[in-house]
Symmetry: C2
Subunit: 337 residues, 2 copies
DNA sequence: TTGTATGCGTTATCAC
DNA sequence: GTGATAACGCATACAA
């Protein structure tokens, strides 16, 4: 197979202990032997074996990250950030696509345990009791991304959904709109669903605007199709809306598409603000004004939190990342009445 | 730390050999001991240690995949497929973002070697001599995705770029267009650049249409921005084009955006066909007609190829995946003159 | 400054 | 059917 320190030792005429020492740069050897060893390593093309190292150190230099769906722009951006942070610390990242499926998630956790990964990142999903117990038994640090747990003491990094939704809605109001609708995600989603609805309502209330149920459409999810069908339904209920807050960029894009079919001009006839600031927001026609979540940075921050937990063994504070509205061209300023 | 088979053995009053046997379901033990062992495993919450197993088997049940950029819809889709196939075989996948950077790529390969991954997937990038030597020394199967190597005998899975570009262009011709332009990627890219240009030209030639240099814009890449600026440049050179083949969906979306700014209606004034069929194609306004690559399936197929190489140790045939045009609304049928 | 020996958790080869 | 025990490749405590 491949060479071991034993081979290197023989080749360099030293003991394996010495080889191990120079390999880890621990000092305690002469320059001469160091050179000898390095030479032998090079000549043989020796490659350290992470299995053997891991067996001793009980560390894998690998972290695991679980997504409900890896192939979304949302996930990709986070993954990009995580990967970057991990790479800086010579760590690898294993991706897991849970498909929001309990059994599948548990299987991943099992695999990750056996591989003795150093930490876990959990994205966008609720932590069930089953997950938590498993995680706890793994004795490994965990950080939540874009979700949080009310029942279990797990650190997280996310934006304040309610606040961000408030900001989005308030932006619409500031631009002169008073008849504002919303297409929300699933309202049973206590992280990304209800809080954004609450933020929306609170912004209206604070400005003294009426909150009407027929101005809100509750979708099943946050997808393009949800937005597409959502807009039709919304406009049937409330034809006179002048502005719309979509709880995700995908929803917003779907709404824009539906508007296009319906002959409704954006932003002339209807202003739309999204949520997320995915790459697609910029590509939309018109370019989508939206509330940005710093996804890539969230990935970096979460990974860094994980590493400090791993390496320094200390607890870490959750982080609320700041959001901001990115003004593009889907919202029109309107004269206040 | 965590329990070992030794603990389990003691707990069940058997030897570690027996524990190992039932753990691997090898038979050669009585039902009674089997139950005893299973019970002990459960009671202790024993977790096998992949390090120890790997040390013996020299297998990690992990594969590595290298992308120039993980956070693109293109990469995500492939990753999704790979992940799916790997999961079915209880394998994990480590993602690496090379940023098309030689040194970074080499470092990843180094990490993957040390971790004794079972196979490598290489996406969208040229294999340099340096990479190939490293890969060869790793003694591990490799499959290329959406790229191929003319110098090294590495199996790949991709679509036929030239053919697909031909198909796209020919579709435009069949729809009645004769003044057709192209925004290509980098023409120095011998995989996704030049071949698509060749396919474009060949389709025109076959139909007896003139091939004019000013009808082709060579971008630096395949991005939205390249398409955005590309369309302006193209139209300056050739104002009377009625149709456009964009060598990627991102290019196409950029072109659509530019057209929107320019007051050019798609498809009334200009028909556009893209390449890739990413999710964004469907979200475009108008929805983009495009040549589809089955990205997710390519990921699955490539991973499966890798696994048969790994497990059966035999060589494997490269796969040309079939493409198809997805008709949406960005191409208008025109009367033949 | 260097070498010897032990153990990390498993699997596998022997014996019994 | 079952149990010792020797690897696997490395790090490290202890000797020298």
């Amino acid at each position: 197979m491949s060479y071991t320190i034993k081979d290197v030792a023989k080749h360099a005429n030293v003991s394996i202990a010495t080889v191990s020492r120079v390999l880890n740069g621990q000092g305690g050897y002469s320059k001469a032997t160091e050179d000898k060893v390095h030479l032998a390593i090079k000549e043989l093309g020796y490659q350290p074996n992470a299995f053997a190292r891991g067996l001793i150190s009980n560390k894998s230099n690998t972290i695991g990250i679980l997504f409900p769906e890896v192939s979304s722009q949302f996930s990709s951006k986070i993954l990009r950030g995580v990967e970057e942070a991990a790479h800086r610390l010579d760590s690898s990242v294993i991706v897991c696509n849970t498909a929001s499926h309990g059994q599948r998630t548990m299987k991943y956790l099992q695999l990750l345990t056996e591989k003795r990964i150093d930490g876990i990142l959990f994205v966008s999903e609720m932590i069930t009791e089953e997950y938590y117990k498993k995680i706890e038994s793994m004795q490994v640090p965990v950080v939540l991304i874009s979700t949080e747990s009310y029942q279990y003491p797990l650190p997280y990094v996310k934006v304040d959904d309610k606040h961000a939704a408030f900001t989005a809605t308030d932006y619409l109001v500031k631009m002169g709109h008073s008849k504002i609708g919303m297409i929300s995600g699933n309202k049973d989603d206590i992280i990304a669903g209800q809080p954004r609805i609450d933020g929306f309502k609170q912004a209206l209330a604070q400005r003294g605007l009426a909150i009407k149920d027929e101005n809100i459409i509750h979708s099943n999810g946050f997808s393009f199709n949800d937005g597409f069908t959502g807009l039709r339904r919304l406009l049937e209920q409330s034809p006179d809306l002048t502005a719309l807050f979509a709880a995700s960029d995908a929803l917003a894009l779907g709404a824009i598409s539906a508007a296009y079919k319906l002959g409704i001009k954006i932003p002339e006839n209807l202003s739309i603000i999204g949520y997320d600031n995915l790459p697609i927001a910029e590509m939309a026609i018109p370019p989508l004004t939206t509330v940005a979540q710093p996804l890539e940075e969230m990935g970096i921050v979460a990974a860094e939190m994980l590493f400090t937990m791993m390496n320094q063994g200390r607890r870490v504070e959750s982080r609320i990342m700041s959001h901001s509205v990115i003004e593009r061209e889907s919202v029109k300023k309107v004269n206040l009445t």
